[in-house]
């Protein structure tokens, strides 16, 4: 039994590695075809992602919001809700955090940061609740409501920064909120890098996600509902309230992501505040099989892609469009990694069958 399990363990490493190698190979081909130097490019990709403390910090900073939106998608999904709304929830979280973070001058830093993050969480969570309510009251499919609420949230934030929250002292009429106060900006973890405390919160969120689903009764209920509403009903679980809680937490995660991005990196709410964090989050969650560690790792992969490709562009002068293609290759190969499963090949099957049956006979 044990000895039979071992190969699996090895394969868990084998697949992602081979997948990324293959993606890089394809990348190399495309880059060469475009007439650029691929050795340089791929080297830059890695250096930009992990080459130095600063680079690693950058990678982790970029991983943080997508890890949180990833958790947002994952926890809702565990409860049977497809939350495509992380983008909007992230904006609303950032909005709430902006309001708290630009006011309350003179509050001690720790407290101010805490309540701002809480505000961010609530902003996203309450916006998420809307999805749940519409589902419970009108059984409106979240596939639609979430997408619509995304656009609405973005438009609403756009209005806020053009009117009520607009930075009037600003030297230009560029629509943006006031910068959050010094006291709420997240502390840098390593001086000389931009790595901020956000990643710690992300890790805590991952731990929460793991423990909540595996070790709490609410989490157990959510997983049950997610897999079979009828069984959950039969077991006397409260479907609607539990679903509401799930989408509440999901929205909260996304909102927290927005707050962290605001307090750690951008400091102002602007129109293009989120660079698709919401949708990348979905990919992150699913790439990580919705399991805690997986989400953490694929989040870092996405972060690395972002920071790495920035450097790659600088070094190789590849246009951004090519970078997009490269990113898509890596995602595709990682998600489709089973294509490298030589155990599926006929030759191997025949061989393995023999071996096993001999094993059984003896």
């Amino acid at each position: 039994m044990r000895s039979k399990l071992k190969p699996e363990k090895i394969f868990q490493l084998y697949f992602p590695i081979v997948a990324i190698l293959a993606a890089l190979l394809l990348t190399a081909i495309v880059i060469s075809v475009m007439g650029f130097n691929f050795v340089e490019a791929i080297q830059a990709l890695f250096v930009g992602a992990f080459g130095s403390l600063g680079a690693i910090g950058e990678t982790l900073n970029k991983a943080t919001p997508v890890i949180l939106t990833g958790l947002s998608y994952a926890i809702a999904q565990k409860c049977g809700i497809i939350n495509l709304g992380a983008e909007g929830q992230l904006y609303m979280g950032a909005l709430a955090a902006t309001i708290v973070g630009t006011n309350l001058n003179g509050t001690p830093s720790v407290i101010h940061i805490t309540i701002t993050l809480i505000a961010g969480f609530l902003g996203g969570a309450l916006y998420g609740i809307i999805v749940g309510l519409l589902k419970n009251l009108f059984d409106a499919s979240e596939l639609i409501t979430t997408i619509m609420l995304n656009y609405i949230a973005m438009a609403f934030c756009g209005w806020c920064i053009s009117f009520p929250l607009k930075d009037t002292e600003a030297t230009s009429n560029f629509p943006q909120s006031r910068a959050v106060l010094e006291s709420v900006q997240l502390p840098r973890l390593i001086s000389g890098t931009r790595l901020h405390a956000g990643i710690i919160l992300a890790v805590l969120a991952i731990v929460f996600y793991y423990v909540f689903l595996k070790y709490t009764k609410k989490g157990f209920e959510m997983r049950t509902i997610g897999l079979s509403r009828s069984v959950a009903q039969n077991a006397g679980m409260r479907l609607s309230t539990t679903s509401l809680l799930a989408i509440f937490i999901a929205g909260g995660f996304a909102g927290l992501g927005g707050a962290i991005e605001l307090l750690g990196v951008q400091f102002r709410l602007i129109n293009a505040f989120s660079l698709n964090f919401g949708f990348d989050g979905i990919a992150v969650a699913l790439l990580g099989n919705s399991n805690a560690l997986g989400i953490g790792l694929s989040g870092i992969l996405f972060g690395a892609l972002r920071s790495g490709s920035n450097r790659m562009q600088m070094i190789t002068k590849l246009p951004v469009a090519v970078i997009y293609m490269i990113q898509s290759f890596i995602i595709l190969f990682v998600i489709g990694r089973s294509m490298f499963d030589f155990r599926k090949l006929r030759v191997y099957k025949r061989f393995a069958k023999r071996k096993m049956l001999q094993g059984e006979k003896t």
Binding site: T171, S172, V265, F267, A272, N310, Q313, M314
Partner: protein
């Protein structure tokens, strides 16, 4: 390849000592407008003998990282294409005192950061004025993309311009909320036509083309906001009011190599040739001579600084 800013003015002649110039853009270099002209500017700078690099679609979240890459990558001069970058730009510039930063449309000029402003409102003003001149009995329309400084100022200028020509004219102004959604722009323009607009001007990067096409189909006049746009609507586009930031970039670079960097933020417009009129396109043959002269006159006044446009 670092070297003091007060190097011999002709970096071009000494290949060994090339200046490295980077441009960081918030949009794609193919947007037929703001970022495109910025890119052209960079090309001009390359012709002057600099080694260049640029990065498109850089969001504020990555800006610091990108700046850091260039600054530590041996670049002497970094252009930030929008005042959306001003905050983070200023913050990061402090870390790299011997790198010079130009912020286009920025407002601050300190130590190693110089801001250059482009007179978007002048472009808007001329568009508005021309539209009003050719609109006849009808109304004039302005279709903007996203709410960013150039377009906010542009639309303010447009209204001022239209009013300047005809105090009582009805002005139709809208934002589509996107620089890429050509259809939204086109449909908005069509709706304006339905409301009685007879001369229209877009300011929405690529999406502008949609507006021009709408004008073509509706058989009304249009004023383009950049070169090469007229071909999609030959019967509608009478002229383009161009805002060529390339000139601003080139000038900035020349100041840089000649070592006399501006001490305070300056604004460049018609006077400096950043804002100028294209030739009349064939659609303009429908116009009578005095209209054309009036337009010419307006432009000359503006270039001569006789017209000043308020911005919000």
């Amino acid at each position: 390849s670092k070297q003091p800013k007060t190097s011999d003015p002709s970096g071009s002649e000494a290949p060994g000592t090339k200046h490295k110039v980077a441009l960081i853009l918030s949009g794609p270099v193919s947007d037929m407008s703001w970022n495109a002209t910025a890119y052209n500017g960079l090309k001009e700078i390359e012709k002057l003998g600099a080694e260049i690099a640029y990065q498109e679609n850089v969001d504020n979240s990555s800006l610091a990282d990108v700046i850091n890459n260039y600054a530590t990558g041996g670049y002497d001069l970094i252009f930030l294409s929008t005042n959306g970058y001003e905050d983070i730009g200023l913050k990061e510039a402090k870390n790299y005192p011997d790198v010079t930063f130009f912020i286009i449309n920025g407002a601050t000029t300190v130590d190693n950061v110089i801001s250059v402003q482009v007179a978007d409102e002048q472009q808007g003003f001329l568009m508005g004025a021309i539209s009003a001149l050719v609109a006849g009995e009808g109304q004039v329309g302005f279709v903007g993309g996203m709410e960013i400084t150039p377009i906010i100022n542009g639309s303010a200028g447009f209204e001022a311009g239209a009013k300047h020509v005809n105090e009582s004219i009805a002005i139709n102004s809208a934002m589509t909320g996107s620089m890429t959604d050509v259809n939204a722009a086109k449909e908005t323009a069509k709706a304006m036509v339905g409301k009685g607009v007879t001369a229209i001007s877009p300011m929405a990067d690529n999406a502008s083309l949609g507006v021009l096409e709408a004008a073509e189909e509706a058989g009304i006049f249009a004023v383009a906001s950049g070169l090469n746009q007229e071909t999609v609507a030959p019967k509608a586009v009478i002229i383009a009011v161009v805002k060529d930031t390339a000139i601003a970039y080139k000038a900035a670079y020349q100041d840089y190599i000649s070592g006399n960097l501006p001490k305070e933020t300056k604004k460049m417009g018609a006077t400096e040739g950043v804002v100028f009129l294209s030739d009349w396109y064939e659609a303009a043959s429908a116009l009578n001579q005095e209209t054309k002269d009036a337009v010419k006159a307006l432009y000359d006044d503006m270039a001569a600084g006789k017209i000043t446009v308020e911005i919000p």
